[in-house]
């Protein structure tokens, strides 16, 4: 039990995913939601690298994780740019205010 193994890493991944999911579904702040997305992506990354190490060897898991890191950065850039645009209109980044489109 105390011996750290694959399952332990997967548990960390699972918890990161769950916390990320909680974050995106409950945060009012748009930036807060984007942080939740980062948590989810990190969860997947931990899984990838752990599987690569314990299960299959080779570099495929790491490569996947690297691409995810790069795309996460790109996504953060776009997401934050959009948040700024919204802020210009609403003077807030509280997503509950952005409900003009509904129904």
């Amino acid at each position: 039990m105390l011996h750290v193994g694959l399952a332990h890493f997967l548990a960390v991944g699972a918890l990161l995913f769950a916390l990320g999911a909680y974050c995106v579904t409950t945060r009012k702040n748009a930036v807060g939601i984007l942080m939740g997305v980062e948590l989810i992506l990190n969860a997947a990354n931990v899984n990838f690298v752990a599987f690569g190490h314990y299960s299959w060897g080779g570099i495929h898991g790491q490569v996947f994780a690297l691409f995810v890191i790069v795309l996460a950065a790109a996504e953060a850039a776009v997401g934050l740019a959009i948040v700024l645009t919204l802020y210009r209109h609403y003077k807030t980044i509280d997503v509950t205010r952005a409900e003009r489109l509904e129904g």
Binding site: A21, V24, T25, T26, R27, K28, I33, V95, T96, A98, E99, R100, L101, E102, G103
Partner: protein, 755 residues
């Protein structure tokens, strides 16, 4: 399979009206402005005449062919092939579709000619003729198509044209709404039709690979030879043809072609007959399921219970449209379809019983409503519904040819009646209320006599064709052995007989109210033609006979209504009905499956006497009550049964009550859909209130409003749930994300549990 005759010019029959429609749609307005209306109807009527000529030519070809080979066929191009399921753009003329084609082209030509007179003052003359031609095109596709897909093209096409023509005077919102209603109600029917078709295809083709069992098990030898090979299926018809599994030279598997379907179902060696009879779907016998749903489609198009509600409203269209579409042709599409599939319906006594019973019920029900109508076109509308009921009785009890014969005779006399009513309406300055007519026999002699002949035909006097067709149906109904239980036939016969008496009564009532009943009572009305402008052109003068293009058509149709008797002189009189033997190649398919008892010629002759007797009774009562216009009893009875009177006659009053009821009911449904939004108690209270009000209103009111209401209620319920579902889209992103996540988790759970 008997040989088919390949023909090459059949496409002209529908193509000519299509061309006419196209020409008038594109350049019609310019032609009308520059060359006058003659150019417009020249194109339209010319197209119809040519098309009719081609149809007669092929009729001649058909008569020159041995009876068993009477299947004229033309494939334009292979439209589509999926696996072994192939659809060609193909036309087929067998005796049944030949008869229908002739009816459609000839009656339509006459009605086109009539429209020249009737629509003479219409500014959008070109648009009218364009729609009319388009309708004929669609109708011809419907009757000439060799497979379900072409039939469905036409089926939807006539619906669309009907919609366009009912709401022809679209500036009047009520008329536009009537058009919408026709279209939407018809879609309900279409939906049943499509599902029936699905189930049929499934029964013919599903699961034959034996891998994905849908509860089907076919005879081993059969299943092995009928395996699909989708991996190697062809993109072209030739390839698909080459790979169609064949058993004893007959293609098996799902097919949309009527002839192939018939061949594979009827050839016992394919095993499909047994297979279809033993298969069940959702626990129901497959054939019954399929046939009842297909018939459901027919109830929409042919205005049977419960989907007939659109037809009376459809009278908002111009009268020639009512005559062509809502009496002579389109509404018979359902009968045609059932007749065409007689081999399928014959497999299921339950389905036959449903068809016959619904037909009979509709016949008497619509006849009863006809008693109360004062609008001349509404009377004819309900009589159409009623007569269509007779046709379904005929095809439902297994007397396919009798149903078709009634279809044919009805086309003549009902077109004559409708066009006669159009002539009357024109003479009375667009007045449709019979109470404001009267005494027209002196003003419009030709209309009066033709109307009288047609009335003789519809009420069943042996001088005109309607007698023979209706009587054959009644006789077959009495002697049928094809229904679910032996007592049903005689019961239906009795109901049909009562309906015949009713028919005779209300038709003669309309005749006397219009043409006798004292002197002309009307002024200048605004009944049908609310298009504005033209009213001023009429001065208040006495009714005047219509122009010769109209009366000529009336004479032709009246003559047709009498002469059509020749086609069906009964065997009880020692004749062999010509039409029966002509249709034999079509009906022979189900010959072995259908049986009629033969109680003897004497009884048949006696029944004919009874028929004539009840028709005479109806006539006499009508004459007694309405001929002089001075008999006080109708008015007295109306006063006595004032409650009924108010409910039936005061349509607005009833509609308003009903609208309120529906509104409440719809609110209730909405509440149920979102029960978490409201207190359950409120919902229950509403429910009780709605039910009480509902019962109270139904009590004494005519059933039609219930049916109408149910259709509305369904629509309202769907709309209400749509409004409710919109609330789910809150506009708040966190709710969206919650849904997405919960959805993913829920599907994981379902997936895991289902497995």
């Amino acid at each position: 399979m008997p040989n088919a005759v390949e023909i090459h010019w059949a496409w002209l029959i529908p193509a000519l009206p299509a061309l006419g429609a196209f020409a008038n749609a594109t350049i019609g307005k310019k032609l009308q402005d520059r060359l006058g209306k003659g150019a417009v109807h020249g194109i339209a009527v010319g197209a119809m005449v040519l098309s009719t000529a081609v149809a007669w030519a092929y009729f001649a070809v058909m008569l020159g062919t041995p009876a068993e080979d009477r299947y004229l066929h033309q494939t334009l191009w292979p439209a589509f092939a999926a696996g072994s399921l192939r659809v060609d753009l193909a036309f087929a003329l067998d005796p049944l579709s030949m008869m229908m084609t002739l009816v459609v082209t000839n009656i339509a030509t006459l009605i086109h000619v009539y429209s020249i007179g009737y629509m003479a003052e219409e500014p959008s003359y070109w648009r009218f003729f364009s729609y009319m031609n388009l309708f004929v095109f669609s109708m011809l596709l419907l009757v000439m198509g060799s497979n379900f897909v072409i039939l469905f093209f036409g089926w939807e096409g006539v619906g669309l044209c009907s919609y366009l023509l009912i709401s022809f005077w679209y500036t009047d919102l009520d008329k536009a709404r009537a058009g919408m209603k026709a279209f939407v109600v018809n879609r309900f029917g279409d939906f049943a039709f499509i599902i029936g078709l699905f189930a049929l295809m499934w029964g013919l083709g599903g699961s034959w690979t034996g891998q994905k069992s849908g509860g089907l098990s076919l005879r081993d030898g059969y299943a092995a030879s009928a395996v699909y090979a989708p991996l190697h299926d062809g993109a072209t018809a030739a390839e698909a043809e080459a790979m169609t599994p064949r058993e004893h030279g007959i293609a098996v598997g799902p097919t949309l072609d009527f002839r192939e379907l018939r061949a594979e179902i009827l050839a016992p060696e394919t095993g499909i007959l047994t297979h279809l009879k033993t298969t069940t779907i959702f626990g129901l016998p497959l054939v019954a399921f399929v046939c009842i749903l297909l018939f459901g489609g027919a109830t929409g198009k042919s205005a049977q219970i419960p989907l007939y509600v659109w037809l009376p409203d459809a009278m908002a269209g111009p009268t020639p449209v009512s005559a062509l579409i809502h009496a002579a042709t389109m509404v018979t599409a359902g009968v045609y379809m059932v007749a065409r599939l007689n081999f399928l319906f014959a497999l299921s006594p339950a389905a036959m019983t449903v068809v016959a019973a619904v037909g009979t019920l509709t016949a008497i029900f619509a006849a009863a409503i006809g008693f109360f109508q004062v609008d001349i076109k509404k009377v004819l509308a309900y009589s159409t519904v009623s007569q269509l009921g007779y046709m379904f009785m005929g095809v439902g009890v297994g007397a396919t040819w009798a149903g078709c014969y009634h279809l044919l005779t009805h086309a003549f006399f009902k077109a004559c009646l409708f066009l006669g009513s159009g002539s009357v309406i024109l003479a009375c300055h667009h007045e449709q209320d019979m109470r404001k007519m009267g005494g027209l026999k002196d003003h419009t002699p030709i209309t009066r006599w033709t109307y009288a002949v047609a009335t003789l035909a519809i009420s069943g006097f042996p001088v005109a064709a309607g007698f023979f067709s209706k009587d054959e149906i009644l006789w077959k109904t009495f002697t049928t052995e094809n229904l679910a239980a032996p007592w049903i036939g005689p019961v239906l016969w009795f109901v049909g007989l009562v309906a015949a008496a009713g028919t005779s009564f209300y038709m003669w009532r309309s005749y006397y109210l219009t043409f006798w009943s004292g002197s002309y009572r009307g002024g200048s009305g605004h009944g049908e033609h609310a298009h504005g402008g033209e009213e001023g052109m009429h001065e208040a003068h006495a009714p005047r006979e219509s122009p010769v293009v109209m009366t000529g058509v009336l004479l032709a149709l009246a003559a047709g209504a009498v002469l059509a008797s020749v086609l069906g002189l009964p065997s009880a009189w020692g004749f062999t009905p010509i039409l029966e033997s002509f249709l034999e190649p079509v009906t022979s398919a189900s010959r072995d499956l259908l049986h009629f008892s033969e109680p003897g010629r004497g009884l048949e002759l006696f029944f004919m006497l009874v028929s004539v007797g009840v028709a005479t009774a109806g006539w006499l009562v009508a004459a007694w009550l309405y001929k002089t216009g001075e008999n006080p009893r109708p008015a007295a009875w109306l006063a006595k049964y004032a409650g009924l009177h108010r409910v039936v006659f005061n349509k607005f009053y009833v509609d308003e009550i009903y609208a309120a009821t529906i509104l409440r009911a719809a609110m209730w449904v909405k509440d149920v859909a979102f029960w978490f939004d409201v207190h359950v108690i409120d919902g229950l209270v509403n429910f009780v209130g709605v039910v009480v009000r509902f019962v109270a209103n139904v009590d004494g009111a005519i059933d039609r409003y219930v049916v109408d209401g149910l259709v509305n209620l369904t629509a309202e319920a769907v709309l209400a749930s749509g409004r409710g579902l919109r609330k789910l889209q809150t506009g708040r992103i966190e709710n969206y994300l919650m849904t997405a996540l919960a959805g993913a988790l829920a599907f994981v759970a379902i997936n895991y549990l289902v497995h």
